[in-house]
């Protein structure tokens, strides 16, 4: 027994020596990359930007306070360099650090709009070969330069950048639908599939120039989603925002959807979660009503071929609560509720049609209609031969919206406001 134990232990030790795979590296021998930015290169093919948190401590010198306080916010360094490929860029960047770059924890891959419009093929395949690039990394298109954007990418509310990165993507997905989230895996598979084209969230630096300190509001209705990233009329907060969607045709970005259109696209894809949608009051064009709408069930999409041309019928099922009315009109009443529902249906259908026609013009099936059309083909060869993505522009799409008001918030009845002159 003694002998067998010692033989077994010896084997284990020898295996350790023979495998020669000792690649363990101490946790403090790495520099961890949070964000990777890709721009069009100037002195070389591509320009890469890495955002790396600094592990330097405040107070320094390992004083009496010990090693327990966490990193304070915004301690990171940014390095930009021109390189032929991503991996050679990493090697080049390492020469300026005492550490090896570890991009296993990189959460964002930011691609500048300029580069995206030229095509992403040059780097998108090569990067994913590395074990360190996670398939769950988010891909985002930056309007403007990615390197400039990363300089500003320092969330104000938290010092935990990776948590914030996740948060931005989650909130857009779950709670407003004004932008979407796409990870590397989905992006690259959408690039290579014949069913749909990739969609990527848009982001940009907001220099607060749309925010006007004084003036009168415009008469015409402007919805909450009628903006692209970087255009929101706001001041304060983060210097960047995620808004709208970039549309891809092949590996090239060809256009963008604003917030409203993004919601419409999500509704068709069945990914719209919930959002407060504002529209004009059907009784008074000056006033606005907000409906907190959510998808009741997956959309019903039917694809048929009429005279060899695909015809797609989209049925969207929504339900919602009245969130806000600006007048005292009692929309909760049995009489007025259908009026509001009808108006909302029309409004959503309008956005939906607008979005679909925009995509048709760009010849971009961002909705994934191909997944339904493919059902009319018996073999994958026939389907690939048919070239759906090339024919989307000729497709006839009809839309239909079903909407019911489920709840009226905490108010069951709107009583008019009493004025001193007896008016109601």
């Amino acid at each position: 027994m003694h002998k067998s134990v010692s033989i077994a232990l010896m084997c284990v030790f020898i295996i350790c020596l023979l495998t020669a795979c000792y690649d363990g590296r101490e946790i403090d021998e790495w520099a961890y990359v949070y964000t990777i930015g890709v721009d069009k290169g100037v002195s070389n093919v591509l320009r890469f930007t890495f955002q790396i948190p600094s592990l330097k401590r405040d107070g320094g010198g390992g004083g009496s306070s010990g090693g327990t306080e966490s990193q304070s916010a915004g301690h990171f360094t940014i390095i930009s360099l021109d390189a032929p490929t991503f991996h050679s860029g990493v090697d080049m960047a390492e020469t300026s650090f005492s550490r090896k770059l570890n991009y296993m924890h990189a959460n964002y891959l930011l691609i500048s709009e300029e580069l995206a419009r030229e095509g992403v093929e040059r780097f998108i395949n090569g990067m994913i070969r590395s074990r360190q690039i996670r398939h769950s990394m988010y891909i985002i298109i930056v309007r403007g330069k990615a390197s400039d954007y990363i300089e500003e990418f320092n969330p104000v509310l938290t010092g935990a950048i990776s948590k914030a990165q996740d948060g931005f993507m989650k909130i857009s997905n779950k709670d407003d639908g004004l932008t979407i989230s796409t990870n590397y895996h989905n992006f690259i598979s959408d690039l290579k599939t014949a069913y749909r084209t990739p969609v990527v969230p848009l982001t940009a630096i907001n220099d607060f120039s749309n925010y006007e300190a004084s003036g009168a509001p415009p008469e015409i209705f402007k919805s909450e989603g009628d903006y692209y990233a970087g255009e929101l009329p706001r001041s304060g907060g983060n210097k960047f925002e995620f808004f709208g969607t970039a549309l891809f045709e092949g590996d090239k970005m060809v256009g963008a959807l604003n917030g409203d259109e993004t919601r419409a696209m999500l509704m068709v894809r069945g990914e719209f979660n919930r959002g407060s949608i504002a529209m004009t009051d059907p009784k008074d064009k000056k006033l606005r009503i907000t409906i907190n709408a959510s998808q009741q069930k997956k959309p019903g999409i039917k694809a048929t071929f009429i005279e060899g041309k695909p015809v797609i019928n989209v049925k969207i099922f929504l339900e919602g609560n009245i969130q806000n009315t600006q007048s005292s009109t009692e929309y909760e009443s049995v009489k007025l509720k259908p009026v509001l529902e009808n108006a909302f249906r029309e409004y959503v259908k309008g956005i939906l049609d607008r979005t679909i026609s925009k995509c048709k013009n760009l010849n971009v099936d961002a909705f994934g209609f191909g997944e339904k059309v493919v059902m009319h083909f018996l073999t994958i060869q026939e389907w690939e031969k048919y070239n759906w993505l090339g024919r989307f522009k000729d497709t006839e799409v009809t839309t239909e919206v079903k909407f019911i008001i489920r709840r009226t918030g905490t108010m069951l009845k709107t009583n008019p406001i009493q004025h001193s002159n007896g008016e109601k």
Partner: protein, 641 residues
């Protein structure tokens, strides 16, 4: 010798220094002696005493084995003594030895030679001790001399020989060990009766031993024997022996009354619910405590002698008709084969009888609790209680049983399952956590959440050591605290807490020796190992932990899984008294509903399959019975109405 070599040019001071440093044999005038190099070293092994023993060994093995089968290890000792004095076969050997011994000085006196010398001085005593026979002499003075010689009286002052006359007529003497007997019994119940005038009212001419046993001695347990060896053993055990003039037999009286600890709370196995009785160091008490719980005539207690020189006893307890005879035979065989001068307590017995001495895992289960011991017996296990330690051993045992506590059966099943899973988690933490920490930080940083990773890396910035060294440092200091905590006198025990908190706490972090997360890892590991109910297993896990740290440091999770597999292989190959260590999981047997997940008590109908108990069934359909009876009652009522 070195001094001689150095003698010429060495100045005086250097010589003095060398003198104080170099080793030399002490001179006579320095009053020193040393044991390091005995004068008859080497010869001692072949000394006539043992040489004769060796010479006779082959011849006498048969005899000795016989004596073992009789279950009397005492006799063996006696055999040896006999052969010592028996110089028949020695002369040849002695011749050889004499040539060897020429170079050595005078032999020290042997005990019997010493006694012989002493006796020649005591002129006037005509009685000769019975040197050649184990049978009692009919002459009292001869018996007295033999007993005195056997107990080395008067050198040995513990043993008392009390001479007196029974009924003022017949000479007699008592022999007993001071302190081992109950003085009150002696003074009040034995001597007054023996010495009173009217003892011999109807005495015949025969030896009065039977008469005394029947009519005079008011002691609950008396025996008679005609053997010196047996008498000596019993006297050493605390009985007193009465020798009477003209009798070839002596009377042994149960007068035990030595100091012993009272039955107290079990110290190492405390429970909230359940019995609060623990074993003591006294074998008799322990057996009684178990018998008190299992009131069954089939509960067998077999006493086996262990320890050739200290003559200790151990009890083998089992339930006849339930425990498998193969296990019983094996246990008895292994205990009888123990050939060691000193065996005390369960810990030593365990090491002598276990199957795989080179394994880390324990192969017997020990407990301090009589109720748990009783439950082992009821399961069909064989229990060994050794004298001298408040623990009982049970065999066979499987890995999973080591996780059960007696509280498991005393609390309701959801609670006991919860506690058991917590314990399993403790085992997992204690075994793997530091190893996994090392593997994670060295190889699998992608698995750590980013913020935590940055924090660990940031904290690690100021630590100059590699992770493996950090972990080893903390683990070893933790082990030091634990070991120190056991040895520290309780009066200064508080100091240890403070020191421990400093080492395993903020101070170590502040000193830049370790990273703060590691402190948590080590603490959880420590807690986990405390949650393991079996102490031997807990120690095994403590050792294994270091293996896993090493494996994790070299090969990451792959190394940890290799090491885990290796340990599982060994555990699979182990057996405890015929039962595979990992059964009923590997090999798969019928699952008794109490392995890891414990079913409600009424559904545990069978004894564990792997024990091969003769009576497999433990209980009937408890609840079903009263439910169906209720139904029948209802039906009966309905019929009446």
């Amino acid at each position: 010798m070195i001094m001689e070599r150095l003698d010429l040019p060495v100045p005086g001071l250097l010589k003095t220094i060398l003198k104080s440093v170099l080793y030399k044999e002490p001179n006579n005038e320095e009053l020193g002696f040393e044991l390091l190099e005995g004068e008859n070293e080497g010869v001692e092994q072949e000394s006539p005493q043992n040489a004769s023993g060796k010479g006779d060994q082959k011849a006498s093995t048969g005899q000795r084995d016989d004596s073992r089968q009789q279950g009397n290890a005492e006799q063996k000792r006696n055999d040896r003594q006999q052969s010592d004095t028996n110089h028949q076969g020695d002369k040849k050997m002695q011749g050889n030895i004499k040539t060897q011994r020429k170079n050595f000085r005078k032999q020290p006196l042997k005990v019997d030679e010493w006694n012989g010398n002493r006796k020649t001085e005591n002129t006037g005593n005509t009685c000769k001790p019975q040197n050649n026979s184990d049978i009692l002499s009919t002459e009292l003075c001869s018996n007295l001399e033999t007993i005195r010689q056997k107990f080395l009286i008067p050198k040995n002052q513990d043993v008392i020989t009390r001479e007196f006359k029974i009924g003022r007529k017949i000479k007699a003497f008592m022999v007993y060990v001071e302190g081992m007997i109950d003085k009150n019994t002696m003074n009040l119940a034995i001597f007054p009766h023996l010495m009173s005038k009217d003892v011999f009212e109807e005495i015949g001419e025969d030896c009065p031993v039977d008469y005394l046993m029947e009519n005079v001695l008011t002691v609950h347990n008396v025996r008679k024997t005609d053997k010196y060896s047996y008498t000596v053993m019993q006297v050493l055990n605390g009985m007193s022996a009465l020798f009477v003039e003209g009798c070839g037999e002596c009377i042994l009286m149960e007068t035990r009354g030595f100091e012993k600890r009272n039955v107290g709370k079990p110290i190492t196995e405390t429970v909230v619910k359940g019995s609060q009785e623990g074993f003591t160091e006294n074998l008799r008490t322990n057996v009684t405590l178990v018998r008190k719980i299992i009131k069954n005539e089939n509960l067998v207690t077999e006493m086996l002698p262990i320890g050739n020189t200290n003559h200790s006893n151990c009890a083998v307890m089992y339930l006849e008709g339930i425990a498998n005879t193969k296990v019983i035979q094996e246990v008895k065989k292994r205990i009888k084969k123990i050939d060691s001068d000193f065996v005390l307590g369960d810990g030593m017995v365990e090491q002598f009888i276990e199957d795989n001495p080179f394994m880390l895992f324990p192969q017997v289960i020990d407990t301090e609790r009589p109720d748990r011991t009783a439950s082992f017996i009821m399961e069909g296990q064989v229990v060994i209680i050794a004298e001298g330690a408040p623990f009982a051993l049970a065999v066979p045992v499987t890995f999973f049983r080591l996780f059960h506590t007696s509280e498991d059966s005393f609390v309701r099943w959801p609670a006991s399952n919860f506690l058991r899973y917590i314990r399993l988690l403790g085992l997992f933490c204690a075994t793997f956590l530091p190893g996994m920490y090392v593997a994670l930080t060295l190889f699998h940083t992608e698995m750590i959440p980013t913020e935590l990773l940055i924090f660990i890396a940031g904290a690690k910035e100021l630590v100059p050591f590699p992770t493996i060294l950090e972990v080893m440092m903390m683990e070893i200091s933790f082990e030091l605290i634990r070991e120190g905590g056991i040895r520290v006198p309780s009066i200064i025990g508080q100091t240890l807490g403070i020191v421990g908190a400093l080492i395993l706490g903020q101070a170590a972090v502040a000193a830049g020796l370790v990273s703060p997360l590691l402190v948590i890892v080590v603490s959880i590991t420590g807690l986990g190992s405390f949650a393991i109910p079996n102490y031997t297993l807990a120690i095994a896990v403590r050792i294994e932990r270091f293996l896993f740290i090493f494996a994790g440091a070299v090969l990451g999770f792959y190394g940890i899984s290799l090491m885990a597999m290796l340990l599982a292989y060994f555990a699979c190959s182990m057996k405890s008294f015929g039962v595979p260590f990992l059964s009923p999981v590997a090999p798969k047997t019928n699952v008794n509903p109490d392995v890891i997940y414990r079913h409600p008590i009424w559904s545990q109908k069978n004894r564990p399959d792997y024990m091969n108990a003769y009576n497999r069934k433990r209980q009937g359909n408890n609840q079903k019975l009263w439910i169906s009876e209720d139904d029948q009652d209802k039906k009966g009522k309905e019929d009446k109405t």
